[in-house]
Protein backbone atom coordinates (compact mmCIF):
# COMPACT_ATOMS: atom_id res chain seq x y z
CA UNK A 1 0.00 0.00 0.00
CA UNK A 2 1.13 3.50 -0.77
CA UNK A 3 2.42 5.52 2.17
CA UNK A 4 0.54 8.64 3.28
CA UNK A 5 3.76 10.37 4.17
CA UNK A 6 7.16 9.18 3.22
CA UNK A 7 10.43 10.69 4.31
CA UNK A 8 13.40 9.58 2.28
CA UNK A 9 17.00 10.09 3.36
CA UNK A 10 16.10 13.41 4.93
CA UNK A 11 18.90 15.56 6.28
CA UNK A 12 18.68 18.99 7.88
CA UNK A 13 21.65 21.06 8.92
CA UNK A 14 22.44 24.65 9.76
CA UNK A 15 25.91 25.24 8.49
CA UNK A 16 28.02 22.56 10.14
CA UNK A 17 25.43 21.82 12.81
CA UNK A 18 23.31 18.81 11.89
CA UNK A 19 19.79 18.74 13.28
CA UNK A 20 18.40 15.70 11.47
CA UNK A 21 20.75 12.93 10.43
CA UNK A 22 19.92 10.87 7.36
CA UNK A 23 16.37 9.74 8.18
CA UNK A 24 13.70 7.69 6.44
CA UNK A 25 10.17 6.99 7.71
CA UNK A 26 7.12 5.62 5.96
CA UNK A 27 3.78 6.51 7.47
CA UNK A 28 0.78 4.50 6.41
CA UNK A 29 -2.58 6.05 5.59
CA UNK A 30 -4.77 6.56 8.67
CA UNK A 31 -1.80 5.92 10.90
CA UNK A 32 -1.27 7.97 14.05
CA UNK A 33 2.45 8.51 14.36
CA UNK A 34 3.91 10.24 17.39
CA UNK A 35 7.34 11.83 17.29
CA UNK A 36 8.60 11.69 20.84
CA UNK A 37 11.78 12.94 22.37
CA UNK A 38 13.35 15.43 24.76
CA UNK A 39 13.55 19.08 23.71
CA UNK A 40 16.22 19.74 21.09
CA UNK A 41 15.96 16.24 19.61
CA UNK A 42 14.81 17.57 16.25
CA UNK A 43 11.22 16.36 16.38
CA UNK A 44 9.71 19.82 15.76
CA UNK A 45 12.21 20.50 13.03
CA UNK A 46 11.18 17.26 11.35
CA UNK A 47 7.52 18.21 11.59
CA UNK A 48 8.22 21.68 10.17
CA UNK A 49 10.10 20.06 7.31
CA UNK A 50 7.12 17.85 6.54
CA UNK A 51 4.91 20.93 6.63
CA UNK A 52 7.26 22.79 4.29
CA UNK A 53 8.06 25.45 6.87
CA UNK A 54 11.64 24.37 7.12
CA UNK A 55 14.10 24.13 4.25
CA UNK A 56 15.83 20.77 4.15
CA UNK A 57 19.43 20.06 3.30
CA UNK A 58 19.03 16.78 1.45
CA UNK A 59 16.48 14.05 0.77
CA UNK A 60 12.84 13.96 -0.29
CA UNK A 61 9.44 14.28 1.29
CA UNK A 62 6.43 12.55 -0.30
CA UNK A 63 2.85 13.11 0.75
CA UNK A 64 0.00 11.07 -0.75
CA UNK A 65 2.20 9.79 -3.50
CA UNK A 66 3.45 13.20 -4.57
CA UNK A 67 6.96 14.53 -4.17
CA UNK A 68 6.36 17.76 -2.22
CA UNK A 69 9.95 18.45 -1.27
CA UNK A 70 9.85 21.87 -2.92
CA UNK A 71 6.15 22.60 -2.58
CA UNK A 72 4.65 25.43 -0.59
CA UNK A 73 2.99 24.36 2.70
CA UNK A 74 -0.46 25.12 1.32
CA UNK A 75 0.10 22.81 -1.63
CA UNK A 76 1.08 19.79 0.43
CA UNK A 77 -2.38 18.74 1.53
CA UNK A 78 -1.67 19.17 5.23
CA UNK A 79 -3.21 20.88 8.20
CA UNK A 80 -1.21 21.90 11.22
CA UNK A 81 -1.83 22.67 14.89
CA UNK A 82 0.74 24.64 16.83
CA UNK A 83 1.80 24.59 20.43
CA UNK A 84 1.05 28.28 20.98
CA UNK A 85 -2.20 27.83 19.02
CA UNK A 86 -0.96 30.62 16.69
CA UNK A 87 -4.48 31.96 16.32
CA UNK A 88 -4.66 35.21 14.36
CA UNK A 89 -5.24 37.64 17.23
CA UNK A 90 -7.26 40.22 15.34
CA UNK A 91 -9.67 37.79 13.70
CA UNK A 92 -12.79 36.22 15.13
CA UNK A 93 -12.95 32.45 15.49
CA UNK A 94 -14.99 32.27 12.29
CA UNK A 95 -12.37 34.30 10.42
CA UNK A 96 -9.59 32.21 11.90
CA UNK A 97 -11.23 29.05 10.66
CA UNK A 98 -12.03 30.39 7.23
CA UNK A 99 -8.84 32.32 6.52
CA UNK A 100 -7.12 29.53 4.65
CA UNK A 101 -10.24 28.75 2.65
CA UNK A 102 -10.66 32.40 1.73
CA UNK A 103 -7.04 32.59 0.66
CA UNK A 104 -7.64 29.54 -1.50
CA UNK A 105 -10.59 31.33 -3.05
CA UNK A 106 -13.27 28.77 -2.20
CA UNK A 107 -16.90 29.70 -2.83
CA UNK A 108 -18.61 31.42 0.05
CA UNK A 109 -21.22 28.73 0.55
CA UNK A 110 -18.58 26.03 0.67
CA UNK A 111 -16.56 27.97 3.23
CA UNK A 112 -19.61 28.46 5.41
CA UNK A 113 -20.55 24.83 5.21
CA UNK A 114 -17.10 23.67 6.17
CA UNK A 115 -16.78 26.15 9.02
CA UNK A 116 -20.09 25.19 10.57
CA UNK A 117 -19.34 21.51 10.13
CA UNK A 118 -16.01 21.90 11.89
CA UNK A 119 -17.47 24.14 14.58
CA UNK A 120 -20.13 21.57 15.33
CA UNK A 121 -17.57 18.79 15.48
CA UNK A 122 -15.46 20.72 17.99
CA UNK A 123 -18.32 22.36 19.91
CA UNK A 124 -17.24 25.81 18.78
CA UNK A 125 -20.68 26.86 17.46
CA UNK A 126 -21.31 29.45 20.14
CA UNK A 127 -17.84 30.91 20.01
CA UNK A 128 -17.64 31.75 16.33
CA UNK A 129 -17.79 35.52 16.75
CA UNK A 130 -15.35 35.80 19.60
CA UNK A 131 -11.77 36.94 19.35
CA UNK A 132 -9.00 34.57 20.50
CA UNK A 133 -8.31 36.80 23.50
CA UNK A 134 -11.86 36.09 24.71
CA UNK A 135 -11.38 32.32 24.73
CA UNK A 136 -10.06 29.97 27.37
CA UNK A 137 -6.95 27.91 26.71
CA UNK A 138 -8.89 24.77 25.84
CA UNK A 139 -11.20 26.68 23.52
CA UNK A 140 -8.24 28.24 21.78
CA UNK A 141 -6.69 24.87 21.20
CA UNK A 142 -9.93 23.56 19.77
CA UNK A 143 -10.04 26.49 17.38
CA UNK A 144 -6.47 25.70 16.38
CA UNK A 145 -7.46 22.11 15.71
CA UNK A 146 -10.51 23.32 13.83
CA UNK A 147 -8.35 25.46 11.64
CA UNK A 148 -6.54 22.34 10.53
CA UNK A 149 -9.76 20.36 10.13
CA UNK A 150 -11.54 22.81 7.84
CA UNK A 151 -8.85 22.30 5.29
CA UNK A 152 -10.20 18.76 4.84
CA UNK A 153 -6.85 17.30 4.03
CA UNK A 154 -5.40 13.86 4.45
CA UNK A 155 -2.55 14.62 6.78
CA UNK A 156 -2.67 16.49 10.07
CA UNK A 157 0.43 17.70 11.83
CA UNK A 158 0.37 18.47 15.54
CA UNK A 159 3.25 20.33 17.15
CA UNK A 160 2.98 19.75 20.90
CA UNK A 161 -0.62 20.90 20.83
CA UNK A 162 -1.44 20.21 24.46
CA UNK A 163 1.66 21.33 26.29
CA UNK A 164 0.32 24.80 27.09
CA UNK A 165 -2.75 23.42 28.84
CA UNK A 166 -3.30 22.38 32.43
CA UNK A 167 -3.39 18.68 33.30
CA UNK A 168 -7.16 18.28 33.35
CA UNK A 169 -7.73 19.98 29.99
CA UNK A 170 -4.85 18.06 28.54
CA UNK A 171 -6.49 14.77 29.42
CA UNK A 172 -9.82 15.88 27.99
CA UNK A 173 -8.40 17.11 24.72
CA UNK A 174 -6.23 14.05 24.39
CA UNK A 175 -9.31 11.93 24.37
CA UNK A 176 -10.96 14.28 21.90
CA UNK A 177 -8.04 14.03 19.54
CA UNK A 178 -8.14 10.28 19.75
CA UNK A 179 -11.86 10.31 18.99
CA UNK A 180 -11.25 12.65 16.07
CA UNK A 181 -8.69 10.30 14.65
CA UNK A 182 -11.00 7.38 14.99
CA UNK A 183 -13.94 9.15 13.35
CA UNK A 184 -12.04 11.04 10.62
CA UNK A 185 -9.48 8.41 9.79
CA UNK A 186 -6.83 10.88 8.67
CA UNK A 187 -3.15 10.36 8.89
CA UNK A 188 -1.79 12.22 11.90
CA UNK A 189 1.74 13.10 12.85
CA UNK A 190 2.00 14.31 16.38
CA UNK A 191 5.01 15.82 18.11
CA UNK A 192 5.22 15.71 21.87
CA UNK A 193 7.63 15.30 24.73
CA UNK A 194 4.92 13.80 26.93
CA UNK A 195 5.12 10.00 26.99
CA UNK A 196 1.57 9.61 28.25
CA UNK A 197 0.26 11.37 25.13
CA UNK A 198 2.53 9.27 23.00
CA UNK A 199 1.52 5.97 24.57
CA UNK A 200 -2.17 6.73 24.59
CA UNK A 201 -2.51 8.21 21.12
CA UNK A 202 -0.03 6.54 18.86
CA UNK A 203 -0.30 3.66 16.49
CA UNK A 204 3.44 3.92 16.27
CA UNK A 205 5.92 6.03 18.16
CA UNK A 206 9.22 7.30 16.79
CA UNK A 207 11.59 8.18 19.58
CA UNK A 208 14.16 10.74 18.54
CA UNK A 209 17.37 11.78 20.11
CA UNK A 210 19.86 14.25 18.59
CA UNK A 211 18.23 13.93 15.20
CA UNK A 212 18.37 10.16 15.09
CA UNK A 213 15.44 7.76 15.45
CA UNK A 214 16.09 5.49 18.45
CA UNK A 215 13.15 3.27 17.99
CA UNK A 216 10.12 3.25 15.73
CA UNK A 217 7.51 0.84 16.96
CA UNK A 218 4.10 0.37 18.57
CA UNK A 219 3.61 1.79 22.07
CA UNK A 220 3.47 -1.71 23.58
CA UNK A 221 6.68 -2.77 21.89
CA UNK A 222 8.41 0.38 23.00
CA UNK A 223 7.20 0.01 26.56
CA UNK A 224 7.98 -3.62 26.86
CA UNK A 225 10.97 -4.07 24.64
CA UNK A 226 12.84 -0.74 24.54
CA UNK A 227 15.55 -0.84 21.90
CA UNK A 228 18.17 0.81 24.04
CA UNK A 229 18.94 2.36 27.39
CA UNK A 230 17.80 5.79 26.23
CA UNK A 231 14.36 4.59 25.17
CA UNK A 232 14.08 2.45 28.27
CA UNK A 233 14.84 5.39 30.52
CA UNK A 234 12.75 7.86 28.60
CA UNK A 235 9.51 5.86 28.57
CA UNK A 236 7.68 4.89 31.73
CA UNK A 237 6.98 6.59 35.04
CA UNK A 238 8.40 5.98 37.50
CA UNK A 239 11.48 5.32 35.46
CA UNK A 240 12.70 1.80 34.75
CA UNK A 241 15.04 0.44 37.45
CA UNK A 242 18.57 -0.22 36.29
CA UNK A 243 21.17 -2.47 37.86
CA UNK A 244 24.73 -2.66 36.57
CA UNK A 245 26.33 -6.11 36.47
CA UNK A 246 27.71 -8.64 34.11
CA UNK A 247 26.62 -11.74 32.20
CA UNK A 248 28.29 -15.06 32.73
CA UNK A 249 27.91 -17.66 30.06
CA UNK A 250 29.24 -20.79 31.75
CA UNK A 251 28.36 -24.33 30.96
CA UNK A 252 24.71 -23.97 31.73
CA UNK A 253 22.29 -21.17 31.13
CA UNK A 254 23.60 -17.57 31.03
CA UNK A 255 23.44 -15.74 34.36
CA UNK A 256 23.32 -12.05 35.29
CA UNK A 257 25.35 -11.20 38.36
CA UNK A 258 25.33 -8.07 40.46
CA UNK A 259 26.01 -7.43 44.15
CA UNK A 260 25.42 -11.05 45.00
CA UNK A 261 22.26 -11.21 42.95
CA UNK A 262 22.19 -14.05 40.48
CA UNK A 263 19.53 -14.14 37.83
CA UNK A 264 19.05 -17.10 35.62
CA UNK A 265 18.62 -15.73 32.10
CA UNK A 266 17.20 -18.79 30.43
CA UNK A 267 13.76 -17.14 30.46
CA UNK A 268 15.02 -13.99 28.70
CA UNK A 269 14.49 -13.61 24.96
CA UNK A 270 17.94 -12.68 23.69
CA UNK A 271 18.12 -11.03 20.28
CA UNK A 272 21.55 -12.46 19.67
CA UNK A 273 23.25 -15.35 21.41
CA UNK A 274 24.48 -14.14 24.80
CA UNK A 275 28.16 -13.54 25.51
CA UNK A 276 29.99 -12.89 28.77
CA UNK A 277 30.65 -9.32 29.75
CA UNK A 278 29.30 -6.26 31.51
CA UNK A 279 25.60 -5.48 31.05
CA UNK A 280 22.75 -3.45 32.55
CA UNK A 281 19.62 -5.10 33.76
CA UNK A 282 16.46 -3.04 33.47
CA UNK A 283 13.04 -3.79 34.88
CA UNK A 284 9.93 -1.70 35.30
CA UNK A 285 8.35 -1.07 38.73
CA UNK A 286 5.36 -3.11 37.59
CA UNK A 287 7.53 -6.14 37.01
CA UNK A 288 8.59 -6.63 40.62
CA UNK A 289 6.33 -9.01 42.54
CA UNK A 290 5.97 -8.57 46.31
CA UNK A 291 5.39 -12.29 46.62
CA UNK A 292 7.94 -13.20 43.98
CA UNK A 293 10.03 -15.44 46.23
CA UNK A 294 7.15 -17.84 46.49
CA UNK A 295 7.14 -18.45 42.73
CA UNK A 296 10.89 -19.03 42.70
CA UNK A 297 11.92 -15.71 41.19
CA UNK A 298 15.25 -14.10 42.13
CA UNK A 299 14.66 -11.62 44.94
CA UNK A 300 15.91 -8.16 45.81
CA UNK A 301 15.59 -7.86 49.60
CA UNK A 302 15.53 -4.33 51.00
CA UNK A 303 13.89 -1.78 53.25
CA UNK A 304 11.17 0.70 52.27
CA UNK A 305 12.22 4.36 52.28
CA UNK A 306 9.18 6.13 50.77
CA UNK A 307 5.60 5.18 50.02
CA UNK A 308 3.81 7.16 47.28
CA UNK A 309 0.11 6.34 47.35
CA UNK A 310 -1.71 7.27 44.13
CA UNK A 311 -5.23 6.20 44.83
CA UNK A 312 -5.72 2.97 42.94
CA UNK A 313 -2.08 2.12 43.14
CA UNK A 314 1.07 3.02 45.02
CA UNK A 315 4.77 3.18 44.35
CA UNK A 316 7.14 1.82 46.94
CA UNK A 317 10.71 3.01 47.00
CA UNK A 318 13.18 0.71 48.66
CA UNK A 319 16.94 0.41 48.97
CA UNK A 320 18.79 -2.54 47.60
CA UNK A 321 22.59 -2.72 47.49
CA UNK A 322 22.94 1.05 47.25
CA UNK A 323 20.29 1.38 44.56
CA UNK A 324 16.99 3.14 45.09
CA UNK A 325 14.47 0.90 43.34
CA UNK A 326 10.78 1.36 42.78
CA UNK A 327 7.92 -1.08 42.80
CA UNK A 328 4.33 -0.53 41.69
CA UNK A 329 1.57 -2.06 43.77
CA UNK A 330 -2.11 -2.12 42.95
CA UNK A 331 -4.80 -1.57 45.58
CA UNK A 332 -4.39 -0.43 49.19
CA UNK A 333 -1.00 -0.50 50.79
CA UNK A 334 -0.39 -1.22 54.43
CA UNK A 335 3.39 -1.15 54.27
CA UNK A 336 5.16 1.85 55.84
CA UNK A 337 8.62 3.26 55.53
CA UNK A 338 11.12 1.12 57.43
CA UNK A 339 9.35 -2.13 56.70
CA UNK A 340 11.39 -4.82 55.04
CA UNK A 341 10.45 -6.54 51.78
CA UNK A 342 11.88 -9.01 49.34
CA UNK A 343 10.24 -8.68 45.92
CA UNK A 344 10.83 -11.12 43.07
CA UNK A 345 11.93 -10.18 39.56
CA UNK A 346 10.14 -11.51 36.42
CA UNK A 347 13.08 -11.89 34.06
CA UNK A 348 10.85 -12.57 31.05
CA UNK A 349 9.60 -8.99 31.23
CA UNK A 350 12.97 -7.41 32.00
CA UNK A 351 15.45 -5.91 29.55
CA UNK A 352 19.17 -6.34 29.23
CA UNK A 353 21.43 -3.80 27.62
CA UNK A 354 24.98 -4.16 26.42
CA UNK A 355 27.86 -1.77 26.95
CA UNK A 356 26.83 0.27 23.90
CA UNK A 357 23.39 0.74 25.44
CA UNK A 358 21.51 -1.35 22.90
CA UNK A 359 19.20 -4.18 23.81
CA UNK A 360 20.70 -7.61 24.06
Amino acid sequence: MQSAVSIKNLKIAYGDQTVIEEMSIDIAPKEFLVLLGPSGCGKSTLLNAIAGLQDITAGEIWISGKNVTWEEPKDRGIGMVFQSYALYPRMSVRKNLSFGLRVAGLPKAEIEARVSRTAALLHLDTLLDRRPAELSGGQRQRVAIGRALVREVDVFLFDEPLSNLDAKLRNELRVEIKKLHQSLGNTMIYVTHDQVEALTLADRIAILRDGVIQQLASPAEIYQRPANLFVAGFIGAPMMNFIEGHIETGDGAPVFESHGLRVDLSGYGFRTPPASGPATLGFRPDHLMLDGAASGMPTLPGRISVVEPMGSEAVLWFDWAGHSLSLRLMGDVTLRPGDGLSPGLDIAKASLFGTDGSRL
Binding site: Y14, Q17, V19, D55, I56, W70, E72
Partner: protein, 293 residues
Protein backbone atom coordinates in the same frame (compact mmCIF):
# COMPACT_ATOMS: atom_id res chain seq x y z
CA UNK B 1 16.57 25.62 -2.85
CA UNK B 2 15.15 29.13 -2.36
CA UNK B 3 11.43 29.37 -2.19
CA UNK B 4 9.40 32.02 -3.92
CA UNK B 5 8.02 33.31 -0.61
CA UNK B 6 11.47 34.29 0.44
CA UNK B 7 11.76 35.96 -2.91
CA UNK B 8 8.80 38.17 -1.99
CA UNK B 9 10.60 39.23 1.18
CA UNK B 10 13.71 40.03 -0.80
CA UNK B 11 11.72 42.07 -3.28
CA UNK B 12 9.94 43.92 -0.50
CA UNK B 13 13.29 44.94 0.92
CA UNK B 14 14.62 46.18 -2.42
CA UNK B 15 13.71 49.85 -1.90
CA UNK B 16 15.44 49.76 1.45
CA UNK B 17 18.45 48.08 -0.08
CA UNK B 18 18.48 50.85 -2.65
CA UNK B 19 18.42 53.50 0.08
CA UNK B 20 21.06 51.73 2.12
CA UNK B 21 23.42 51.24 -0.79
CA UNK B 22 22.86 54.45 -2.76
CA UNK B 23 22.25 56.89 0.07
CA UNK B 24 24.13 55.47 3.02
CA UNK B 25 27.03 53.74 1.32
CA UNK B 26 27.12 55.82 -1.86
CA UNK B 27 27.27 59.19 -0.20
CA UNK B 28 29.68 57.93 2.39
CA UNK B 29 31.99 56.77 -0.36
CA UNK B 30 31.67 60.12 -2.02
CA UNK B 31 32.42 61.88 1.26
CA UNK B 32 35.45 59.73 1.95
CA UNK B 33 36.70 60.45 -1.55
CA UNK B 34 36.32 64.21 -1.05
CA UNK B 35 38.11 64.08 2.27
CA UNK B 36 41.33 63.37 0.37
CA UNK B 37 40.94 66.43 -1.85
CA UNK B 38 41.39 70.14 -1.27
CA UNK B 39 37.75 70.88 -2.07
CA UNK B 40 36.54 74.20 -0.74
CA UNK B 41 33.06 75.27 -1.74
CA UNK B 42 32.80 72.86 -4.67
CA UNK B 43 34.21 69.39 -5.04
CA UNK B 44 37.71 69.42 -6.46
CA UNK B 45 39.78 66.55 -7.74
CA UNK B 46 43.13 67.77 -6.49
CA UNK B 47 44.26 65.12 -4.06
CA UNK B 48 46.08 66.23 -0.96
CA UNK B 49 46.48 62.91 0.79
CA UNK B 50 45.83 63.05 4.49
CA UNK B 51 46.28 66.81 4.74
CA UNK B 52 42.65 67.43 5.67
CA UNK B 53 42.90 64.85 8.44
CA UNK B 54 46.07 66.45 9.72
CA UNK B 55 44.30 69.77 9.79
CA UNK B 56 41.30 68.19 11.41
CA UNK B 57 43.24 66.72 14.27
CA UNK B 58 45.26 69.84 14.85
CA UNK B 59 42.05 71.82 15.15
CA UNK B 60 41.28 72.57 18.78
CA UNK B 61 37.66 72.99 17.81
CA UNK B 62 37.37 69.48 16.39
CA UNK B 63 39.17 67.87 19.31
CA UNK B 64 36.98 69.78 21.72
CA UNK B 65 33.89 68.75 19.80
CA UNK B 66 34.79 65.07 20.03
CA UNK B 67 35.34 65.37 23.72
CA UNK B 68 32.13 67.30 24.17
CA UNK B 69 29.96 64.85 22.30
CA UNK B 70 31.26 62.01 24.47
CA UNK B 71 30.64 63.96 27.67
CA UNK B 72 27.25 65.10 26.48
CA UNK B 73 26.30 61.66 25.22
CA UNK B 74 27.13 59.88 28.46
CA UNK B 75 25.49 62.45 30.71
CA UNK B 76 22.47 62.96 28.46
CA UNK B 77 21.69 59.27 28.07
CA UNK B 78 22.59 58.54 31.68
CA UNK B 79 20.63 61.53 32.95
CA UNK B 80 17.54 60.64 30.94
CA UNK B 81 17.71 57.04 32.15
CA UNK B 82 18.18 58.07 35.77
CA UNK B 83 15.48 60.74 35.88
CA UNK B 84 13.17 58.63 33.74
CA UNK B 85 13.64 55.72 36.13
CA UNK B 86 13.00 57.88 39.19
CA UNK B 87 9.88 59.39 37.65
CA UNK B 88 8.62 55.96 36.65
CA UNK B 89 9.25 54.68 40.16
CA UNK B 90 7.34 57.60 41.64
CA UNK B 91 4.42 57.06 39.27
CA UNK B 92 4.50 53.35 40.06
CA UNK B 93 3.74 54.08 43.71
CA UNK B 94 -0.02 54.29 43.16
CA UNK B 95 -0.26 58.04 43.27
CA UNK B 96 -3.21 60.27 42.48
CA UNK B 97 -3.56 61.94 39.07
CA UNK B 98 -1.02 59.59 37.55
CA UNK B 99 -2.04 60.35 33.98
CA UNK B 100 -1.74 64.11 34.58
CA UNK B 101 1.77 63.67 35.91
CA UNK B 102 2.63 61.37 33.06
CA UNK B 103 1.47 63.84 30.45
CA UNK B 104 3.41 66.64 32.08
CA UNK B 105 6.60 64.59 32.10
CA UNK B 106 6.15 63.40 28.55
CA UNK B 107 5.13 66.57 26.73
CA UNK B 108 8.65 67.99 26.27
CA UNK B 109 9.33 65.05 23.97
CA UNK B 110 6.98 66.67 21.47
CA UNK B 111 9.17 69.77 21.41
CA UNK B 112 11.92 70.08 18.87
CA UNK B 113 15.50 70.38 20.02
CA UNK B 114 15.49 73.91 18.59
CA UNK B 115 12.65 74.99 20.83
CA UNK B 116 14.13 73.09 23.75
CA UNK B 117 17.45 74.83 23.25
CA UNK B 118 15.94 78.28 22.86
CA UNK B 119 13.80 78.06 25.93
CA UNK B 120 16.52 76.70 28.18
CA UNK B 121 18.94 79.28 26.94
CA UNK B 122 16.48 81.80 28.27
CA UNK B 123 15.89 80.02 31.52
CA UNK B 124 19.57 79.64 32.28
CA UNK B 125 20.63 83.07 31.11
CA UNK B 126 21.81 84.75 34.30
CA UNK B 127 20.45 88.17 33.41
CA UNK B 128 17.03 87.00 32.32
CA UNK B 129 16.22 83.61 33.73
CA UNK B 130 16.18 81.74 36.97
CA UNK B 131 19.20 83.46 38.45
CA UNK B 132 17.78 86.93 37.89
CA UNK B 133 14.45 85.93 39.32
CA UNK B 134 15.92 84.31 42.40
CA UNK B 135 18.14 87.33 42.97
CA UNK B 136 15.21 89.70 42.65
CA UNK B 137 13.64 87.78 45.49
CA UNK B 138 16.53 88.90 47.63
CA UNK B 139 19.10 86.06 47.40
CA UNK B 140 21.80 88.18 45.84
CA UNK B 141 24.55 85.60 45.73
CA UNK B 142 22.52 82.98 43.89
CA UNK B 143 24.38 81.77 40.81
CA UNK B 144 22.97 79.74 37.95
CA UNK B 145 24.96 80.79 34.93
CA UNK B 146 25.47 77.50 33.14
CA UNK B 147 24.88 78.67 29.58
CA UNK B 148 27.50 81.39 29.81
CA UNK B 149 29.98 79.59 32.00
CA UNK B 150 32.69 77.86 30.03
CA UNK B 151 32.95 75.01 32.51
CA UNK B 152 29.23 74.50 32.91
CA UNK B 153 27.79 75.13 29.44
CA UNK B 154 27.94 71.47 28.46
CA UNK B 155 25.87 70.62 31.54
CA UNK B 156 23.33 73.19 30.47
CA UNK B 157 22.96 71.24 27.23
CA UNK B 158 22.59 68.04 29.21
CA UNK B 159 19.95 69.64 31.42
CA UNK B 160 17.91 70.75 28.43
CA UNK B 161 18.33 67.37 26.74
CA UNK B 162 17.26 65.51 29.86
CA UNK B 163 14.25 67.78 30.18
CA UNK B 164 13.25 66.79 26.69
CA UNK B 165 14.03 63.08 26.79
CA UNK B 166 13.39 61.87 30.35
CA UNK B 167 9.67 61.51 29.76
CA UNK B 168 10.18 58.96 27.02
CA UNK B 169 12.36 56.86 29.29
CA UNK B 170 9.77 57.20 32.02
CA UNK B 171 7.04 55.79 29.77
CA UNK B 172 9.18 52.89 28.61
CA UNK B 173 10.38 52.04 32.11
CA UNK B 174 6.94 52.41 33.62
CA UNK B 175 5.48 49.95 31.16
CA UNK B 176 8.37 47.62 31.96
CA UNK B 177 7.58 47.89 35.69
CA UNK B 178 3.93 47.17 35.11
CA UNK B 179 4.95 44.04 33.27
CA UNK B 180 6.72 42.58 36.30
CA UNK B 181 4.76 39.90 38.10
CA UNK B 182 2.89 41.04 41.17
CA UNK B 183 4.01 37.93 43.03
CA UNK B 184 7.52 39.29 43.28
CA UNK B 185 6.11 42.23 45.21
CA UNK B 186 4.27 39.91 47.52
CA UNK B 187 7.37 37.82 48.07
CA UNK B 188 9.47 40.87 48.82
CA UNK B 189 6.88 42.25 51.19
CA UNK B 190 6.78 39.05 53.16
CA UNK B 191 10.55 39.11 53.34
CA UNK B 192 10.25 42.63 54.75
CA UNK B 193 12.42 44.29 52.16
CA UNK B 194 12.12 48.09 52.10
CA UNK B 195 10.48 49.58 49.01
CA UNK B 196 13.55 51.43 47.77
CA UNK B 197 15.51 48.21 48.07
CA UNK B 198 12.95 46.33 46.02
CA UNK B 199 13.21 48.87 43.22
CA UNK B 200 16.98 48.85 43.33
CA UNK B 201 17.70 45.15 43.73
CA UNK B 202 14.68 43.40 42.24
CA UNK B 203 12.90 45.69 39.78
CA UNK B 204 15.87 47.50 38.26
CA UNK B 205 17.77 44.36 37.15
CA UNK B 206 14.65 43.15 35.35
CA UNK B 207 14.31 46.42 33.46
CA UNK B 208 17.53 45.80 31.57
CA UNK B 209 15.90 45.35 28.15
CA UNK B 210 13.59 48.34 28.61
CA UNK B 211 16.45 50.57 29.69
CA UNK B 212 18.61 49.30 26.84
CA UNK B 213 15.88 50.08 24.30
CA UNK B 214 15.37 53.55 25.73
CA UNK B 215 19.11 54.08 25.81
CA UNK B 216 19.46 53.04 22.19
CA UNK B 217 16.67 55.39 21.12
CA UNK B 218 18.41 58.27 22.87
CA UNK B 219 21.87 57.26 21.70
CA UNK B 220 20.73 57.38 18.10
CA UNK B 221 20.32 61.11 18.62
CA UNK B 222 23.61 61.79 20.37
CA UNK B 223 26.05 61.77 17.48
CA UNK B 224 23.54 63.83 15.52
CA UNK B 225 23.41 66.49 18.22
CA UNK B 226 23.22 69.77 16.39
CA UNK B 227 19.96 71.69 16.72
CA UNK B 228 20.02 71.98 20.48
CA UNK B 229 23.57 73.29 20.47
CA UNK B 230 22.89 75.86 17.78
CA UNK B 231 19.77 77.04 19.54
CA UNK B 232 21.28 77.15 22.99
CA UNK B 233 24.94 78.06 22.91
CA UNK B 234 26.04 77.92 19.30
CA UNK B 235 29.08 75.99 20.44
CA UNK B 236 30.27 78.52 22.98
CA UNK B 237 31.50 79.91 25.22
CA UNK B 238 34.77 79.27 23.43
CA UNK B 239 34.68 75.66 22.33
CA UNK B 240 32.84 74.53 25.40
CA UNK B 241 29.83 73.09 23.60
CA UNK B 242 31.18 72.56 20.11
CA UNK B 243 29.97 69.22 18.66
CA UNK B 244 31.08 67.24 15.59
CA UNK B 245 27.84 67.60 13.64
CA UNK B 246 28.06 71.37 14.02
CA UNK B 247 31.72 71.38 13.08
CA UNK B 248 30.82 69.54 9.89
CA UNK B 249 27.91 71.84 9.11
CA UNK B 250 30.01 74.96 9.73
CA UNK B 251 32.71 73.77 7.39
CA UNK B 252 30.30 72.44 4.82
CA UNK B 253 28.51 75.73 4.37
CA UNK B 254 29.56 78.77 6.37
CA UNK B 255 33.28 78.16 6.08
CA UNK B 256 33.06 76.60 2.65
CA UNK B 257 35.53 73.86 3.37
CA UNK B 258 34.15 70.69 1.87
CA UNK B 259 37.43 68.78 2.28
CA UNK B 260 37.67 69.37 6.00
CA UNK B 261 33.96 68.75 6.51
CA UNK B 262 34.08 65.40 4.73
CA UNK B 263 37.21 64.42 6.65
CA UNK B 264 35.30 65.10 9.86
CA UNK B 265 32.36 63.12 8.52
CA UNK B 266 34.60 60.18 7.70
CA UNK B 267 36.06 60.13 11.18
CA UNK B 268 32.57 60.25 12.62
CA UNK B 269 31.39 57.37 10.48
CA UNK B 270 34.39 55.30 11.52
CA UNK B 271 33.45 56.06 15.09
CA UNK B 272 29.89 54.94 14.50
CA UNK B 273 31.05 51.73 12.88
CA UNK B 274 33.31 51.04 15.82
CA UNK B 275 30.29 51.32 18.09
CA UNK B 276 27.86 49.42 15.85
CA UNK B 277 30.07 46.59 14.63
CA UNK B 278 30.59 44.78 17.94
CA UNK B 279 26.95 45.30 18.82
CA UNK B 280 25.86 43.86 15.50
CA UNK B 281 28.26 40.96 15.86
CA UNK B 282 26.82 40.09 19.25
CA UNK B 283 23.33 40.28 17.85
CA UNK B 284 24.30 38.15 14.92
CA UNK B 285 25.69 35.45 17.18
CA UNK B 286 22.55 35.57 19.29
CA UNK B 287 20.46 35.33 16.13
CA UNK B 288 22.37 32.23 15.05
CA UNK B 289 21.56 30.48 18.27
CA UNK B 290 17.94 31.47 17.91
CA UNK B 291 17.77 30.17 14.38
CA UNK B 292 19.14 26.80 15.41
CA UNK B 293 16.36 26.17 17.87
Amino acid sequence: MKRKTNLAATVALLPTWLVAVVVFIGTMGWSIHLSFTNSTIFPSSTYVGLAQYQKLFSSAKWLASLQNVVTFGILYVGGCLLLGFLLATALDRKIRFESVFRTIFLYPYAMSFVVTGLIWQWMLNPMLGIQASVRSLGWDSFVLDWVVNRDMAIYALVLAGVWQGAGLVMVIVLSGMRGIEAEQWKAARIDGIPVWRIYLSIILPQLGPALAAAGLLLAMGVIKTYDIVVAMTNGGPGNATEVPAKFIMDNLFGRQNLGLATAGATVLVLGVLMIVAPFRYAMHMRGKKRGAR
